[in-house]
C-alpha cells in the first residue's frame, strides 16, 4: 500500500510528537508512525525533570545552563547548539505549560524546580534548582500532554507501524517503508519531509534502564543508507539503576538530597551525613554528573567497598540512601520511584536504602544533524534534503561526551520543535517528486530471508551474546583489548545473524520477526559503538579508556563520524567542535 | 423519570435515605409497637375495653391498631409517601438493571416500559388502599 503525506514523523515519543504538533499547527497533512502506541514511548519513563533556567526558585540564567551543559559534555558539545538549546528551553517549557502540562508548583503558583546533577549557579559555584518537574513523572507528563495536543489537532496516527527503511532518491529523502505489525503488510509512505525520532539503542547492553523496544532503529536505518553516525562511542551509564534490573532511580532522588553509601558508610544511613562522593566532587557531591558518579561507584566496588564487598562491578552494588528525607518528601516528590522500589526490590525507601548499580542509560551519539534538525550526509554539514532527526536518535551535538540530567527532555522538546519549524519552511518551498522503482523491494527481501531463509541461528542466542559482550567489554571502563574483543565478537555475531530465521510464519503480529529485525538494527549500533570507541584514544565524559586515562584536547577535541563502507568495513571522518564562549578547562566538580 | 442521568442518580440516593428514615419508622410502628411491644397499645391510646376485645381474637388486635393509626390522616400521608418513594426507588433500580443487562436496544426499551407500567400499577394500588382504608372503630 502507498500512502502520501506532506510530512511523516517516525516515532511517537517527545521529539516526534512535538514535531508533529508543530506541523499540525500549520495545517500540514502529517502522519505519525510508531511501532508502539503513542503513549508507550520511552519518553514516558523519564522521571526527574526538564532543565530550563526559569529562575522560579532562585536566581538562574540560561548562560549558566549553557556553561553547565558545555562542562558536563566534557567540552565536546557544540557550543552554538547548546546556547540555542538553553535559550529555547525557557519558552519551550512555558509553551508546554500552556499546553496543559501539570508541572508541580512553587508556593506562589509557578512551575516548581529542583536541583539536578551537574546543574550549578554562577558557572559552577553551587547546585541550582533548574529542573522543572511534575513529581517524578516529568517525561510521562510531557509525553501525554503532547499526545493530547496532537489528538486535539487531529494528527493522523499509524500505530504499530514499524519503519524499516528510508526512501532515498538521489540524495533526497522521500519517505519511509513501514511494516504494519497487525497485517504483516509492507507499506510505502511517501512524504516531502521525514522526521526520525526513534530514540536510542540501550538494548545493545545487558543491563539498561531502556525499554525493550529501544533498539537503535533510526540510527541503523540511516547508517545502512550511507548516512554517518556521530560520536557513537559515547554511551551514558546512569549511576543509580536498581540492582540487577537496571530500572532507573531518577537523579531527582539525589536532587532531593539522596546520598550514595558504600559498605564503610552503613552507619550513616538515615543521618544525612556526606557519603563517599564528598571526596570526589567536594562542591556538588552526589549531584556530580552521571559519568563522574558512575565511575566513582565502579571504583568503590572494584576496591572492595561495595555492599557485598566482592570487588566485582558486574554483581556488586551500593546503597542510595533516602531515609533522612522523611516519608513526606519521599511520598510526594518521589512517589513513582518509591513504588518501583517496593514492587521490584521489596525495599521501603522510607526505612531502608535502595540497592543500586550503574545501568546503561543514554546514547549521546547518533544521526548527525544541525540545529534545525536537518540530517547531515557528512562532517562538512551537507544536509540530506527532506530528512530530519531529533531526540536521542540524533546528535546535534548538545550532549557531547556526557549528557546532563534533564537535558534529554530539553533536547527532545527543543529540537523536536525546531525540526518541526524548519520542516514547515521546507514543506512550503518543496513539491512532491516522483518515486521511481520499487522502494520496498529491499525490505521485502529482508523479511523473506528472515522468514523463509532456513538458517539455523536463533535470535535470542545472538542477542544475549551481544548484550553481554557490550556490557563487559564496552561498559563504564574500556581498553584497547576489551574494545577489540567487543568489535570482533560483534563482527562474528553479524555473520551469524545472516543465518537467522524465525519459526513464526504468520502475518499478524509476528513479534518473533520483529525481534529479529530489531536485533539486526542493534548489531549495527553495537558495531558502530565498538568501532568508534576503539578509535578514540582518550578519556572524555562517558568514554573512559583505562589505557588513555586523560582527556586529549590536542588530538580529540572533535566529533567522530563513522561511515558504512561495506559489511565489516567502516571509514572515519572528523568534525571540529564548535567553541564560542567557553574554552576547555579541566573538569572538576 | 428523569432524562438526565445525573438527576436520576441523585434521586436514587435521596430516595434511599428517605426510605431508610420512613421504613425505619414504618417497621418500628407496625412490626414492633403493634407486635411484640404490648406497651405500644398504651401509646396508641387503647383503653381497657379495646384490650379486652383484642384478647378474644389476636388477629383483630392488629386490625384495630391499624385502624387506630389510620384514624390520624398524618399517617396516611406518611404511608403514601413511603409507597411513592419505595416504588420509585425499587422500580428505578429494576430499570437500571435492565439498562445494564439487556443489551438489545428494542428489548431494553420494552423492558423499561413494562417496568414503569408495573411500578405505576403497584403505586396506584398501594395509594388507593391506604387512602380508602376507613375501618370502623369499636
Amino acid at each position: 500500500m502507498v500512502h502520501k503525506f506532506d510530512a511523516i514523523v517516525v516515532g511517537a515519543g517527545g521529539a516526534g510528537l512535538r514535531c508533529a504538533l508543530e506541523l499540525s499547527q500549520h495545517n500540514f497533512n502529517v502522519a505519525v508512525l510508531s511501532k508502539l502506541y503513542p503513549v508507550r514511548s520511552h519518553t514516558g519513563a523519564a522521571q526527574g525533570g526538564v532543565g530550563a533556567a526559569l529562575g522560579n526558585e532562585e536566581p538562574d540564567s540560561p548562560e549558566w545552563h549553557f556553561f553547565d551543559t558545555v562542562k558536563g559534555s566534557d567540552y565536546l558539545g557544540d557550543q552554538d547548539a547548546i546556547e540555542i538549546m538553553c535559550e529555547d528551553a525557557i519558552e519551550t517549557v512555558l509553551e508546554l505549560e500552556h499546553f496543559g502540562l501539570p508541572f508541580s508548583r512553587t508556593p506562589d503558583g509557578k512551575i516548581a524546580q529542583r536541583p539536578f546533577g551537574g546543574h550549578t549557579s554562577n558557572f559552577g559555584e553551587a547546585p541550582v534548582k533548574r529542573a522543572c518537574y511534575a513529581a517524578d513523572r516529568t517525561g510521562h507528563m510531557i509525553l501525554h500532554t503532547l499526545y493530547e495536543q496532537c489528538v486535539k489537532n487531529q494528527v493522523r496516527f499509524f500505530n504499530e507501524f514499524y519503519v524499516l527503511d528510508l526512501i532515498v532518491e538521489g540524495e533526497t529523502c522521500q519517505g519511509v517503508i513501514a511494516y504494519d505489525l497487525a497485517t504483516g503488510e509492507v507499506n510505502v509512505f511517501q512524504a516531502k519531509a521525514t522526521m526520525l525520532a526513534t530514540g536510542g539503542h540501550g538494548r545493545a547492553f545487558s543491563i539498561t534502564s531502556n525499554a525493550h523496544t529501544y533498539t537503535g532503529d533510526g540510527m541503523a536505518i540511516c547508517f545502512r543508507r550511507g548516512i554517518p553516525m556521530e560520536d557513537m562511542e559515547f554511551v551514558q551509564f546512569h549511576p543509580t539503576g536498581m540492582r540487577k534490573l537496571g530500572i532507573l532511580v531518577s537523579e531527582a532522588a539525589r536532587g532531593e538530597g539522596g546520598i550514595l553509601r558504600n559498605r564503610e558508610d552503613l552507619d550513616n544511613i538515615g543521618t544525612g551525613k556526606d557519603g563517599f562522593m564528598a571526596a570526589i566532587a567536594p562542591t556538588i557531591k552526589d549531584l556530580a554528573p552521571r559519568d563522574v558518579v558512575s565511575r566513582a561507584m565502579y571504583n568503590e566496588i572494584k576496591e572492595g567497598r561495595g555492599i557485598a564487598g566482592t570487588g566485582d562491578p558486574g554483581s556488586d552494588y551500593l546503597y542510595l540512601d533516602l531515609v533522612h528525607l522523611g516519608a513526606d518528601t519521599i511520598n510526594t516528590q518521589l512517589p513513582d520511584i518509591s513504588h518501583f522500589a517496593r514492587t521490584y526490590l521489596a525495599v521501603e525507601p522510607i526505612k531502608e536504602p535502595i540497592p543500586v548499580q550503574p545501568t546503561t542509560h543514554y546514547a549521546m551519539g547518533g544521526i548527525p544533524t544541525d540545529v534545525e534538525g536537518r540530517v547531515l550526509w557528512d562532517a562538512k554539514n551537507k544536509p540530506v534534503p527532506g530528512l530530519y532527526a531529533a531526540g536521542e536518535v540524533a546528535c546535534v551535538s548538545v550532549h557531547g561526551a556526557n549528557r546532563l540530567g534533564t537535558n534529554s527532555l530539553v533536547d527532545i522538546i527543543v529540537f523536536g520543535r525546531r525540526g518541526g519549524k524548519d520542516m514547515v519552511r521546507y514543506l512550503q518551498e518543496t513539491e512532491f517528486s516522483r518515486m521511481t522503482g520499487e522502494p520496498d523491494a529491499f525490505i521485502r527481501g529482508e523479511i523473506d530471508r528472515l522468514q523463509n531463509g532456513g538458517g539455523k541461528e536463533q535470535v535470542v542466542d545472538i542477542r544475549t551474546n551481544m548484550q553481554k559482550v557490550m556490557m563487559v567489554e564496552c561498559g563504564v571502563y574500556r581498553t584497547k583489548e576489551s574494545l577489540t574483543k567487543a568489535r570482533d565478537a560483534i563482527m562474528e555475531l553479524r555473520q551469524r545473524y545472516q543465518q537467522v530465521s524465525v519459526a513464526d510464519k504468520r502475518a499478524c503480529f509476528n513479534t518473533e520477526l520483529m525481534e529479529a529485525i530489531e536485533l539486526g538494527f542493534l548489531l549495527d549500533s553495537a558495531w558502530t559503538i565498538a568501532e568508534s570507541a576503539l578509535i578514540r584514544n582518550e578519556s572524555r565524559g562517558a568514554h573512559s579508556r583505562e589505557d588513555f586515562p586523560e582527556r586529549d584536547d590536542e588530538n580529540w577535541l572533535k566529533h567522530t563520524f563513522i561511515h558504512y563502507v561495506e559489511d565489516g568495513k567502516v571509514k572515519f571522518d572528523y568534525k571540529p567542535v564548535t567553541i564560542t564562549k567557553f574554552q576547555p578547562k579541566p573538569r572538576v566538580y | 423519570m428523569s432524562s438526565r442521568g445525573s438527576q436520576a442518580w441523585l434521586f436514587q440516593r435521596v430516595t434511599a435515605v428517605l426510605i431508610f428514615l420512613l421504613l425505619g419508622t414504618h417497621v418500628f410502628l407496625y412490626h414492633y409497637l403493634m407486635g411484640p411491644a404490648n406497651w405500644g397499645y398504651d401509646i396508641l391510646g387503647f383503653g381497657a375495653a379495646d384490650l379486652a376485645k383484642i384478647k378474644a381474637d389476636p388477629n383483630l388486635m392488629k386490625y384495630y391498631s391499624l385502624a387506630k393509626v389510620f384514624a390520624n390522616p398524618m399517617w396516611k400521608v406518611f404511608d403514601v409517601t413511603l409507597i411513592t418513594v419505595g416504588t420509585y426507588h425499587g422500580f428505578y433500580g429494576i430499570k437500571a438493571i435492565i439498562d445494564d443487562w439487556v443489551t438489545h436496544n428494542g428489548w431494553r426499551a420494552i423492558g423499561n416500559w413494562v417496568t414503569y407500567l408495573i411500578g405505576f400499577i403497584i403505586w396506584v394500588i398501594g395509594v388507593v388502599a391506604v387512602i380508602s382504608f376507613t375501618p370502623k372503630l369499636y
Binding site: 525499554a211 535470535v459 | 445494564d100
Partner: protein, 232 residues
C-alpha cells in the same frame, strides 16, 4: 521454583483458540513478563504479546493474570501466591493474536471526553498561575498510562456495553475537569452525563483494583459524579 504457565493462544489465520501449557523453572522474584519472555526465547517463539518499558510506565503488557488485569512487568511470581499462572488477553476487546488485542477502539473511545487541555483563559507571558493545592486536586489522575486494565476489568463495559465511556476515559476527564487552568468542562459534561456516561458506573472497584498505577479510579469517578450533579 517450578511453575505451570498456561498461555492463551489465538491464531487469526484459522480462528482457533486454545491454552498452551509450559512448565518453567523460575526465581520467585522474576516478573511474569520475564517468564513470558523466557517461554518465547526457550520454548515457543511464536507467542505474541506486547512489551516495552518493563517497569510499569508504558502500559504495553496489560493482560489478565490469574483472573485479574495486571501489567505482566509489574507482577512478581512470589506475589501471585500460586504455582499455576493463567494468562489470557484483557477482555472486552477484539483479540488479534494470542495476548494482543485491538486497542484502536479503546484509544478512539478516550477521545470522546476531549482528553486534552482547553485553556480557560489566554496564555499569559509566563506560566498559568496554579496553587499547590489546586495542583494536588488532580494529581492522582495524571498518573494514568492508558493501559486499558481498568476499562476492560469493568463489567459495565465488558459484560454489557462497549459504548460505555469507561473508567480510563473518566480518569482522563478527571485530570482536566479538576485542573484549575482548564476551561473545557462544559464540552465534557455532555459525554459524562450521557446514558453511556458516568451513571453506568456502579462503584464496583474493579478498575481501582486493576490499576497498575494505583489510582483510586472509583474515587475519581465519584468526584466526577458529584461535579456533574452540581454543574448540570
Amino acid at each position: 521454583m517450578q511453575v505451570t504457565v498456561e498461555v492463551f493462544r489465538y491464531d487469526p489465520d484459522t480462528d482457533e483458540s486454545r491454552f498452551d501449557t509450559f512448565i518453567k523453572e523460575v526465581d520467585p522474584k522474576d516478573r511474569v513478563l520475564d517468564v513470558m519472555m523466557a517461554i518465547k526465547d526457550e520454548d515457543d517463539g511464536t507467542i505474541a504479546f506486547r512489551k516495552s518499558c518493563a517497569h510499569g510506565v508504558c502500559g504495553s503488557c496489560a493482560m489478565e493474570i490469574n483472573g485479574l488485569n495486571r501489567l505482566a512487568c509489574q507482577v512478581l511470581i512470589q506475589d501471585l501466591k500460586s504455582k499455576r499462572i493463567h494468562i489470557r488477553p484483557i477482555k472486552g476487546m477484539k483479540v488479534l493474536r494470542d495476548l494482543i488485542v485491538d486497542m484502536e477502539a479503546f484509544f478512539a473511545g478516550l477521545e470522546k471526553v476531549k482528553p486534552y487541555f482547553i485553556p480557560g483563559e489566554p496564555a499569559p507571558a509566563a506560566e498559568y498561575h496554579q496553587s499547590v493545592k489546586d495542583r494536588a486536586v488532580f494529581d492522582e489522575t495524571t498518573k494514568c498510562i492508558m493501559c486499558g486494565s481498568c476499562t476492560t476489568s469493568c463489567p459495565s463495559f465488558r459484560w454489557f456495553n462497549r459504548e460505555f465511556v469507561g473508567p480510563a476515559a473518566f480518569v482522563k476527564a478527571h485530570r482536566f475537569i479538576f485542573d484549575s487552568r482548564d476551561g473545557g468542562n462544559e464540552e465534557r459534561l455532555g459525554v459524562l452525563d450521557d446514558k453511556n456516561g458516568l451513571w453506568r458506573c456502579h462503584s464496583i472497584y474493579n478498575c481501582t483494583d486493576a490499576c497498575p498505577r494505583e489510582i483510586d479510579i472509583t474515587k475519581a469517578i465519584g468526584d466526577l459524579k458529584r461535579y456533574t450533579v452540581i454543574h448540570r
